[in-house]
C-alpha cells in the first residue's frame, strides 16, 4: 500500500465513503503514527554523539535493570559508572525528544482547534495571546530577573524562566478572555480584536524591556524568542508534559462538536451544542498547552498554522481525523526539525524556530503550488 501516492485525486472515491471516513482519512492516523515512530528513532540515534539504533533498544529495555553495572548490554569504559551513551540517551536526548514530540503535538492540535474556533483556516494559537504573553513573561525574567524580580528568581531557581513565561502567558490570555467574555458570551469578533490589541501592547512592552537590557540579556532573550528545545532535564520537562497531556486529551474529545460548530454559531446551537461552553473549553485547553510549550521552548512559529492547514488539504476538515493527525504530524515535524537543529552545525545548535520557518515556509509553498496545478487541470 503506497500511502504517499494517496493524493487528492481519490476525492471522488464514492464507494468507500462511510461514516468512519474514507480511505484517506482512515489511513491518516496509522500513517502519521508510523512516521512519528521512525522519526523518533532517528532523533534518538542522531546528534553530536551518535548512538546506534540497536544500542537504543537495548538501553531502553534494560533501563530498569541495574544496567549501570551490566557491561554486556552497553559499551562501557568502566564497570561501575554509566556509559556516555546511557547518559546522553536518558538524561539529555530522551527528555529532549519527548519534549519535541509533546510540544509539536500541542502546537499542531491547538492550531487546528484555533482554526475551528475562529471558523477560519488562517487562524493560529498566537491570536489569543499565548505567544506574546509567554514572550513577555520570559523577557521580564531575563531582563528584570536580577533587579526587580531577583527574589523571584532566587527562590524559584531553574524554574524561573519557564514559570515566568507560563505566568505571562496565562496572564495575557486571562486579560484577553476577560475582555471578550462580556455577559458570559465569548464573541469571536471581540476575541479577535482583543487579541490584536493586547498583542500590540505586549509587543511594545517587550520592546521597552529590550531597550533597557544589557548585552548578555539581549543575547539571551533573542535566542529565547528563536526557540530552543535543549537544556531541559526531566524536572523541567515533567510539568510541561502533564499540562500538554491534559490539554490534548481535552481537545481530542471536542472533535465532533467542533465539526458542527463549523456550520455556524446559531446553526450549531440549533443542533443542541452549547457553543459558549465549547468556545471556552477550546480557549482554555489551547492556552494551557501552548502556554506550557512556549514556556519551555520559546517561540516556535509556523507549526500551529501550517500543520493543520496541510492536513486539512490532504484529508479534509473532519476533526475526528484532523485533530489526531495534526497532533502526530506536528510532533513528527518538530522532532525532525530538532534533529536538523542538533546535527546541521555540530557541535553548535541552530535555534529551532528558525528551522521550522525557514524549511517549513518553502515546503508549504511547494504544496500550494502543486495544489494550484492540480486544480488548474
Amino acid at each position: 500500500m503506497n500511502v504517499t501516492s494517496n493524493n487528492i485525486s481519490t476525492i471522488n472515491d464514492t464507494d468507500t465513503k462511510k461514516d468512519t471516513g474514507c480511505k484517506k482519512q482512515q489511513r491518516a492516523i496509522p500513517f502519521s503514527l508510523g512516521l512519528l515512530c521512525i522519526i523518533t528513532l532517528i532523533a534518538l540515534a542522531s546528534g553530536a554523539v551518535p548512538i546506534a539504533i540497536s544500542d537504543i533498544f537495548s538501553s531502553l529495555l534494560h533501563s530498569t535493570d541495574s544496567a549501570l553495572v551490566d557491561s554486556s548490554a552497553l559499551p562501557s569504559p568502566t564497570l561501575h559508572s554509566p556509559s556516555l551513551n546511557w547518559i546522553v540517551l536518558f538524561d539529555i536526548r530522551l527528555p529532549r525528544v519527548v519534549l519535541s514530540i509533546f510540544v509539536g503535538a500541542a502546537l499542531g492540535v491547538c492550531g487546528a482547534a484555533m482554526q475551528a474556533l475562529f471558523r477560519n483556516p488562517l487562524a493560529d494559537p498566537g491570536l489569543i495571546g499565548v505567544a506574546g504573553g509567554g514572550a513577555l513573561g520570559a523577557v521580564m525574567v531575563i531582563v528584570l530577573g536580577n533587579s526587580l524580580f531577583s527574589q523571584f528568581t532566587q527562590t524559584i531557581g531553574i524554574y524561573a524562566l519557564p514559570l515566568g513565561a507560563m505566568l505571562g502567558c496565562l496572564g495575557v490570555c486571562g486579560i484577553i478572555y476577560r475582555i471578550s467574555n462580556s455577559q458570559g458570551q465569548l464573541t469571536i469578533m471581540t476575541l479577535l480584536l482583543a487579541g490584536i490589541a493586547v498583542n500590540a501592547i505586549v509587543g511594545a512592552a517587550i520592546g521597552v524591556l529590550t531597550l533597557v537590557s544589557d548585552d548578555s540579556e539581549l543575547r539571551e532573550l533573542t535566542f529565547w524568542t528563536m526557540g530552543n528545545l535543549g537544556g531541559n532535564h526531566w524536572a523541567l520537562a515533567f510539568p510541561v508534559l502533564i499540562c500538554i497531556g491534559i490539554s490534548l486529551f481535552g481537545i481530542l474529545r471536542l472533535a465532533r462538536p467542533l465539526n458542527i460548530y463549523l456550520l455556524g454559531e446559531s446553526q450549531a446551537q440549533h443542533l443542541g451544542i452549547r457553543i459558549t461552553t465549547l468556545k471556552k473549553h477550546v480557549f482554555f485547553f489551547t492556552a494551557l498547552a501552548v502556554g506550557a510549550a512556549v514556556s519551555i521552548s520559546g517561540m516556535i512559529g509556523f507549526i500551529g498554522f501550517v500543520v493543520p492547514h496541510l492536513v486539512r488539504l490532504l484529508i479534509g476538515p473532519d476533526h475526528r481525523f484532523l485533530l489526531p493527525t495534526s497532533m502526530l504530524f506536528g510532533a513528527s515535524l518538530l522532532t525532525l526539525a530538532d534533529i536538523i537543529a542538533r546535527v546541521a552545525i555540530v557541535p553548535a545548535e541552530l535555534p529551532i524556530g528558525l528551522i521550522t520557518s525557514a524549511i517549513g515556509g518553502p515546503f508549504f509553498l511547494a504544496v500550494l503550488y502543486k495544489q494550484a496545478i492540480r486544480l488548474g487541470k
Partner: protein, 282 residues
Amino acid sequence: MNITIDSLHVTLGGKPLLHDINLTIPAGELTILIGPNGAGKSTLLKACTGDITPISAAISNSTPALIPGSIAINQQPLEHYSTEQLSTLRAVMTQDYTMAFSFTVREIVNMGCFVYEQKINHAQRECIVDEVMQFMHIGALAQQHFTTLSGGEQQRTQLARVLAQLWHPYEQATSRYLLLDEPTSSLDIFHQHQVLALAKELSRRNIGVLAVVHDLSLAASFADNLVLLKKGNIVKQGKPAEVLQPSFLSEVYGISAQFFQHSGAFKPSVIIINEDNNHKRN
C-alpha cells in the same frame, strides 16, 4: 400541540421590532409569514427558535430582546427548555448558511443526525441520510464539496441537514416544529415548489412548519395559514383567500393585487393589476 405566541414584544435598543404579536402555530399545518422588507418576519421566526435573548439577559442595545414568557412550545415556556431539549423539538433553516470548510454534501447532511446519534446505529444513520438526500434531489452530489456547489444546491443541502434533524423518530406524539427562514431564496421555480410541497408533506407527521416566504403566489399555493406583517404588527392572519385581499395588499405592499384561483386545476396565485394603461410603452 402548538407554538403559542402571546403578546410578544421584541425591541432593539428601545425601538420596537415586533409589537404585541398574538399567534398560534399549530402542529400538522404549514404557516407562512409574509410581508415587506423590515416587517419583522425573520425576527418573529428567530423569536420562535429561541435565538432572541430575554430582556433581562440582553447583552447590549445592539441585539434584539424580548419579554420572557411570551412564547411557549407545547405548553411550556421557551425559556424552560435547555439547548439540548430544544434541539429535539425544533429544526431551523437560517437565512445564511455559508461555510468556509470543504465538507462534502454527505458529511453536512450527516451533521443533522447529531441530535439523536446516540440512539441509532450506523446502518440506520446511513439510511436516514440517503432518504433525506433523495428527498431533496441531492443524492448525486453526495461526494461533492459544499464550497463548489451553486447557491441553490447549497441551500438544498442545508435544508436536507435540517430535515435530517427531524427524521428520527419518523413521527412521534410530541409535536415538533420546522422553522424555515426564506428557504426558497436561491432556488429555481421547480425547487421552490418542491421545497414547499415537502414542507407540507412533513407537516402531516405531527410537525408544525413556519416559513418566511417572499413570493406571494408561492405562499398562496401552499399555506394552510398566512400571516401578513407590516412594521412589526400583524395586519391579517387566516386562510390565503382571506388575507390576500386587495385592501390588505394595497395597505401593506402598496400594490394593486388580489388572490386568484382559476379553478381546481391550477394553483392559486396573486395577480397584479396593470396600471400602465395611461402610459403606452413598447
